[in-house]
Symmetry: C2
Subunit: 492 residues, 2 copies
């Protein structure tokens, strides 16, 4: 039932059905498909077609569909298509596109294809593409479109509406109208609905919003996306240093940024470089390239832990109390996980602008209290759990100084004596206290690393987790050794 409903959400077309229509040169059938099926879904179905079949689609359907169709194709397909098209076909396709979409595609193309596209673009389009290509990826400048409506603030409502009718077709959005003053500075926006409900002789100045968020070409795209989210924007003004409007960003691009940034954070949280293509566009080698450098880096960072453990295991206490080794992974995991939770929380809150690096003391004080609660609860639980593990024989103390505790457990009934009890409880104490310290320290380190990264303007998601693991693995081992020696001085 659920599947049935899902399948009817939008009309669909399979690659085979689409190819059949193209091969049959069925213009009416194709137009029907383009009317009923979302264009991006058609583009996806056509992604693996031969360039000649794709060109046939461009010849058969109306130009009003081809712009979105081309934009929906994968980068590889776009490039193959551009190679195969005649100059005339290319001119028609390129100039029907939005400048920001073409600029995005061109920025990833080999130079010979890029220059072919630029030659095909008309003068205005070429200048727009070149402007957009000059902004650094990840900034508002690279995200904006240059097709928008800007009116002077003294314009009347009825004049503005007729201007929109005349010029609005080329704009990316007409729902937000951007307003400048006589000296060309951006002063506010008018929503189309306010314009529709206004009196004909009011001026834009009378009805415009002045409490609007805007950004500069250099503003980070993540910050732009956050403002869209916070202020429920439909479109945002991008200004140059003179505070003049030079582009706008629309909500659909902000949605893409939010999705992209979230994927980046998730990839980094799993120690991987983010993929920039869709799953079907990536080869196993693409994925491997994002994966193995991290594993090698983590392996090298882990050398520190290996070195410490290699030194400690030769200490007398590890030889006397073999059971100590069995809990090393559990302690390291708990320490790493506890701090990782806090690091994740910091990354989230920094991304959402809930606090800034300068708030570090306030945040640290809150996290200290949280860390104490978590450390106390998990430490207490660990004490009970590890005692249970020993009494039930899940783990055994082994032979200590000639006494063999291996077969002592509740099943054999021979564990109710002072010698076993004192060793078992002391050992549970060692693990529990180490866990308490490791969780507490890890949550502090997990707070400070991302805050520190943000303070020096680095992405907190990038290095905080690996550094936390490395630091905590080494610290946990040293704490464990110290506490074990203090609790069992006779074997140290």
């Amino acid at each position: 039932m659920e599947n049935e409903i899902e399948q009817t959400l939008v009309a669909e077309i399979s690659p085979e059905e689409l190819l059949a229509l193209v091969k049959a040169k069925d213009r009416n059938g194709l137009l029907d498909v383009f009317e009923k099926v979302p264009t991006i879904d058609i583009a996806e179905a056509a992604n693996d077609f031969e360039p000649s079949d794709l060109i046939a689609i461009f010849r058969l359907v109306k130009t009003e569909y081809t712009a979105e169709f081309f934009d929906g194709l994968s980068q590889d397909t776009k490039e193959n298509l551009i190679k195969a098209m005649t100059d005339k076909e290319l001119v028609a396709v390129i100039n029907s596109q939005a400048a920001d979409d073409i600029a995005d595609a061109v920025s990833e193309m080999p130079a010979n294809l890029a220059s072919r596209v630029l030659r095909a673009a008309d003068k205005e389009m070429r200048s727009d593409i070149n402007t957009l290509l000059n902004y650094k990826e990840g900034t508002a400048g690279a995200l904006m479109t240059t097709e928008y409506l800007e009116f002077v603030s003294t314009l009347t409502v009825d004049k503005a509406i007729s201007e929109i009718r005349a010029k609005g077709k080329d704009a990316e959005t007409i729902y937000t109208i951007f307003v400048r003053n006589r000296s060309r500075h951006f002063v506010g926006t008018v929503n189309l609905d306010d314009l529709i409900f206004a009196k004909a002789d009011e001026t834009l100045e009378d009805i415009m919003n002045i409490d609007v968020a805007y950004c500069f070409t250099s503003t980070d795209q993540e910050e732009v996306a956050q403002m869209f989210r916070r202020y429920d924007l439909n479109a945002m003004a991008v200004l140059n240093e003179d505070r003049c409007l030079i582009g706008v960003i629309t909500v659909d691009d902000a949605v893409d940024v939010i999705t992209e940034e979230a994927q980046e954070d998730l990839a980094l949280a799993t120690h991987m470089s983010p993929l920039t293509k869709t799953y079907d566009e990536t080869t196993p080698w693409d994925t491997a390239k994002k994966s193995f450098p991290w594993l090698i880096a983590l392996l090298v960072l882990g050398t520190f832990t290996t070195m410490i453990l290699n030194r400690l295991e030769n200490q007398k206490i590890f030889a006397s109390l073999g059971i100590l080794i069995a809990f090393v992974p559990a302690l390291m995991d708990t320490g790493g996980n506890a701090g990782g939770q806090t690091t994740g929380l910091m990354i989230r809150s920094l991304a959402l602008d809930e606090f800034e690096p300068k708030d570090v003391l306030r945040v640290l004080w809150k996290e200290l209290r949280g860390a104490a609660i978590v450390a106390a609860i998990v430490g207490s639980f660990a004490f009970l759990w590890i005692t249970v593990e020993q009494y039930t024989g899940i783990v055994s103390l082994g032979k200590i100084n000639g006494t063999d505790f291996s077969a002592m457990n509740i099943w054999n009934g021979n564990c109710w004596n002072w010698e076993f009890g004192s060793h078992a409880l002391l050992f549970s104490g060692v693990v529990a206290l180490t866990m308490f310290c490791a969780i507490f320290v890890s949550k502090i380190v997990g707070t400070l690393l991302p805050m520190g990264a943000a303070a020096i303007k680095k992405d907190p998601a990038l290095l905080s987790q690996p550094m936390l693991t490395t630091i905590m693995d080494a610290l946990t081992l040293v704490i464990y050794f110290g506490i074990a020696c203090a609790f069992f001085p006779a074997y140290a």
Copy 2:
């Protein structure tokens, strides 16, 4: 410079400045603030005010601002305010709100406050709130608003425009007009810009889009958000089982869902339950509650590893080759990380609908090839690196069968002999081969766990990572032991 620009992006107000205006009952000053500063920022500044000061704000400013102001307050502040307001004040505030915002707030309130709000709501509002409260959280029904514009498909363009002027003020969006046929079934949408550019005597049927995505009240909110992203929607129709329109979802709500779902995935990737409040609204105990149950669960799951390691460390080979223990954390980390990367990738692609559980064989085949590449590269690197570690004395083989290798390294110059070389290279081989196997297996398990979770309709982000770690820690130990015994039969 950067800071200066950031601070001028929108006008700001501090809690102190706002409170001064309220205490002075400076109506004009307040109105000026509400005009220049985004309302949500004012609400945030007022979050810690006494209820009496908040009530003063509602009395002083125009009702057109109070709806958004109330919506921007935190849940706690809203509840305190409702307790402190007179019935008359409450009626004014509640009925100026959007029904979906009030329903969201009511769903989290204690029963006595919720019923006070429902009594204050007028008849229509109360019915809307009750409708919305009946949908399960996380579905389109709970997300939608009941205030929208719906016209019959035979309406002419000029009639539609005058209807919009008459009724549009109450709708959440007028940029998308929803169209039904004579039997009240939803048939398509008209964008406001198409309406504006159309001829006055055309009907909505002539200009409407029929290739539009819609959803049902039971559709998962994540799927709704994905459709907004994919189809660049401004608003989406929510239908009941008879395919009649009963609500719409606007893009700002979809943006919130995307952000919320991304935070959920990120929290789960760091083994923590997602926080539903902002950082400043949470107490240390709130955070601790989301954190410690996971740590305890992971600790209990880790018992399995502890048990295996406790058994293995008493095997002869671990006693003969002490160095084996030193690499246990590095091997477990690499195994866990390698699979974690793949699990993260699967979670991302499943969330973006890039593939479905039924594509498991195709996906598995691709991941198998990727896993082989990564395992071969990292395994080869590990072989070289661990050989270097031994020759440089970062780790030492210790005493084996009476021979003391501890002081053999390149610094002492006594490592260039067959006995050290053969032991060192064989040991590097053990670790490298274990790493190869652990990475390969981990990437397969990391593919299958989230695909399996999705196949049985569970959230793949919830349990895949902890289960992967548990399975891989245990498997890695067993593989390590087996390979060590095969490579060093003399000590096994």
